[in-house]
Amino acid sequence: MKSNLNSIISKNIFKKKTDIIVMLFLIILQITLLVGISYFGSIQKFWNNYSNNSYDFNLALVTAKDENVAESLYHELKNNSHIKDVFYYDEFISFGVFTDYVKDNINGEVELFGTVQNTKKIIIGEDISEPYTMICPTNFLPDSLIYSGTYDVKNIVNLTDKLGEKISINYGGKHPINLKLVGIFDGSYDFSNPNACYVSHETLKKLNDQYQPDLQFNKKNIYILLDDINNANLLMPNDNIINIRPIKTLKKEVGHNAIGITGIVSLILSVLLFILIYALLCRRIKNEYKNIGILSLVGYSKKFIKKLYYREFIFVLLISLVLSNFIAYYILENFVSWFLFNSPLLSLIDVSLNPIAIIITGIVSVIILRMSIKKSLNLIDNMNIMELIYD
């Protein structure tokens, strides 16, 4: 025989069905908060990481006043301690078709950028050193249309096997050449287009001299790699420079609607949950009216009776929090492969459960439960025991 107060009272006051409905709703709300806030936190971290490390976002174009000062400006920039690399257009960018990787849905096109050593974090192999060597990203996918829908993490090409081998390329789409793949760099550490590989400036210049001898470029335009794009201001004012402009700017707003959607959905769910708990609990209290009255007759205070209801929901709260955290963890582990697999940008995010999300979720759950329970338990305060005795 059950022989303690709690088990006897709980047997009579607790209603498993309503608890399960409340728990399901609570879990949906908690998962929304946990996943939404964690995802938002990951995006912020992702963008901050990029603004700190990124190669592309630290590139700037310096325009000289006229061709006469261009050469002296070039040397002046080379000697500036904030500038890590200075180069002209013909040492900067070109493209080629990686013939081995042309498939039904991939056109094999890769951008070739000229750079110096130590701008990328090499994780397998080594950095570019000799002429005609090349490094490519971990998220490598040779296609010119990756931003318009062909990108899918499943199509990422694993280049590990090709390390140290020569890769055949149609330079500029016309001229067959070979470049030796010497290293693979971390694409997530510093955002890189999945179809961007890097060679030395010398390599790019040699290739362009050989295959694109008529390439026209203005010596007034000098490209620089800064240690931090914000230091571009330190170069001004300078009588020889007309302007300095970043090559790419970070569109930090991508993914930021996550927090707005999470907020709206959570708010709606919170209101629904409040109404649900209030309605269910009021109905239950009315059904239990006689038994609550009996407890009161034999000497249980209303405060004590109310505590029983609170205690029941503390149980519901704890169980739901544990379940939600497990489910949210599982969703976040698979977030990229489920939701971001075709975004070349966001598929690099490391999404994980955020401790702040857990705290906020806990606080929101407690507030909603407390408010709705307190409101429905007013019924107990206002109950007229006389009515149930003589009805």
Partner: protein
């Protein structure tokens, strides 16, 4: 324990009209005494007994239990648990609990006994009323007389100094009725203050004092 009613006044408001049920009740209920309150239907007997039980609020006046005032739900609940046994015509048992669980309810607030002691104690009280076979029955599985016996065991389980009963035998047959009256008489002999509302003329043989409630006033005859 004594109950002293001082200028107790109670009015009900229904459809905007005020109805005075108790006007200036003054009475001192003593220990060791079996009181019967009689009066016409609607005269306010139930109102009075529930005011004395601390369940119903009143408009003005004071109630002193052993010359002490009890204010607020927590204090009155504690008083009911420790010192007042209540019985009603409709038994008021929790239908989801077995007979023994119903009786254990008030006892569980008592922290001086272990759970095993409580259960053994309750079982003994059941056997005194020849109810030992019925402890695991639910109220629906008991006759009216048996249910009122469970309610009686529950009312007496904490050995209260006051017993208040509102028509406790209203639904009972003669044998059960006599048993309830005899037990209440016994309690009064043991020093309790017993107050019973009843229409039943037979109760007068058991009572020490018969009170009448009429026109909002309580008087002895």
């Amino acid at each position: 324990m004594t109950i002293k009613l001082q200028n107790i006044k109670k009015t009900y408001e229904k459809d905007g009209k005020k109805k005075c049920v108790l006007s200036e009740i003054n009475y001192m209920f003593s220990e060791n005494t079996f009181y019967v309150i009689m009066g016409k239907s609607g005269s306010g007997k139930s109102t009075l007994i529930n005011i004395m039980a601390g369940i119903l609020e009143f408009d003005s006046g004071e109630i002193l239990y052993d010359n002490q005032k009890y204010v607020g739900d927590s204090m009155l609940s504690k008083l009911r648990n420790e010192s007042i046994g209540l019985m009603y015509q409709s038994y008021l048992l929790n239908d989801n609990m077995t007979a023994i669980e119903n009786v254990l309810l008030p006892l569980y607030l008592n922290k001086n006994m272990t759970n095993v002691q409580k259960i053994n104690y309750v079982k003994k009280e059941f056997s005194k009323l020849k109810m030992e076979d019925k402890i695991m029955n639910f109220p629906k599985e008991l006759s009216g007389g048996e249910q009122q016996r469970v309610a009686l065991i529950r009312a007496l389980i904490n050995n209260p100094k006051i017993i208040l009963a509102d028509e406790p035998t209203g639904n009972l047959d003669k044998d059960n009725e006599r048993m309830v009256f005899e037990i209440l008489r016994q309690e009064a002999n043991n020093g309790k203050c017993v107050v019973v509302v009843s229409h039943n003329p037979k109760i007068i043989h058991y009572a020490d004092a018969v009170l009448y409630l009429n026109n909002g006033e309580l008087y002895e005859k």
